[in-house]
């Protein structure tokens, strides 16, 4: 079963909302988003893999991982967790970095607020993405990548269209 992903843009406020319903109870959906062994299984668009170096889902903790391509290409990413309300929401900042987690300042940070809502037996997830400035949003669009790594993935479009 596949439900529709809803995307609304409020570019004047540097904001994009992604909404999606999942046919599973909230506890499971929350777990899939926050337990790294599960997160790794869906986070990377195939045939790429998300490989974690470290993971600490706590306020002030971070996830350091690399996106690894079929030819061994890697792009290191870091997600800083800011606030966590278990089974309800978390906020984070996604960044590009090196293998030691040192942030690359050339790539604009993207801020996420992810909220989980029970809808009957299903769960609605709303992910709100904001940028620090118009310039940052513009940079991300101009570079044609999402969360900093589409560019590194290169052939993502073909993968997704296949």
């Amino acid at each position: 079963m596949s439900t529709k992903t809803e995307i609304t843009k409020d570019l004047a406020n540097k904001k994009i909302n992604v909404t999606r319903e999942f046919a599973a109870p909230l506890e499971k959906v929350w777990k899939a988003w926050t337990d790294v062994s599960l997160l790794e299984q869906w986070w990377a668009p195939k045939p790429w893999k998300a490989v974690s170096k470290s993971y600490d889902f706590s306020e002030g903790g971070f996830w350091l991982y690399s996106m690894v391509g079929p030819n061994g290409e890697t792009a290191w990413c870091r997600v800083n967790f800011k606030t966590i309300v278990p089974q309800q929401s978390f906020t984070s900042t996604a960044l590009f970095c090196d293998e030691n987690g040192v942030v690359n300042p050339d790539f604009p940070p993207m801020h996420w607020l992810v909220t989980f809502h029970p809808v009957g037996a299903s769960t609605r997830v709303v992910a709100e993405l904001t940028f620090d400035s118009e310039a940052d949003l513009e940079k991300i669009v101009a570079m044609g990548f999402e969360e900093g790594f589409t560019m590194a993935l290169g052939n993502l479009d073909e993968i997704l269209e296949a």
């Binding site: 079963m1 596949s2 992903t5 995307i7 843009k9 570019l11 004047a12 994009i16 992604v18 999606r20 999942f22 046919a23 599973a24 499971k28 959906v29 777990k31 899939a32 599960l38 299984q41 869906w42 986070w43 668009p45 195939k46 118009e134 310039a135 949003l137 513009e138 991300i140 669009v141 101009a142 044609g144 999402e146 589409t150 993502l156 479009d157 993968i159 997704l160 269209e161």
Partner: protein, 101 residues
């Protein structure tokens, strides 16, 4: 400084000007009549819109008309399309995972 679509839409007056021009081409005077700001301020906004290529100017007789350029706005849509595909791909994988959880 590089001008682009995001600078064009960053300002409420410029968004209002784009809204007017999307309906019909207008002269600078006709545009300025819609705003309380000075003609000079409005023409500065128009200039930025032209530099962002979201508005084109065209000379008709002695008058200059400004036209909305919808192709430029498509840059955002193209990016959002890619963004959507990435997330749909991810979420389909998450669906499969949840089914077996």
């Amino acid at each position: 400084m590089r001008r682009d679509i995001f600078q064009a839409i960053a300002d409420p007056t410029r968004r209002a000007i784009l809204g007017l021009l999307a309906l019909q081409a207008m002269t600078p005077n006709a545009i300025a009549e819609h705003f309380d700001s000075t003609r000079q301020a409005v023409s500065k906004h128009i200039q930025i819109l032209v530099e962002c290529e979201v508005v084109k100017q065209q000379q008709t007789g002695r008058e200059i008309y400004y036209h909305f350029n919808p192709n430029k706005m498509k840059e955002i849509d193209l990016w959002l399309d890619r963004f959507r595909k990435l997330w749909e791909g991810r979420f389909d994988q998450l669906d499969n995972l949840l089914e077996n959880l």
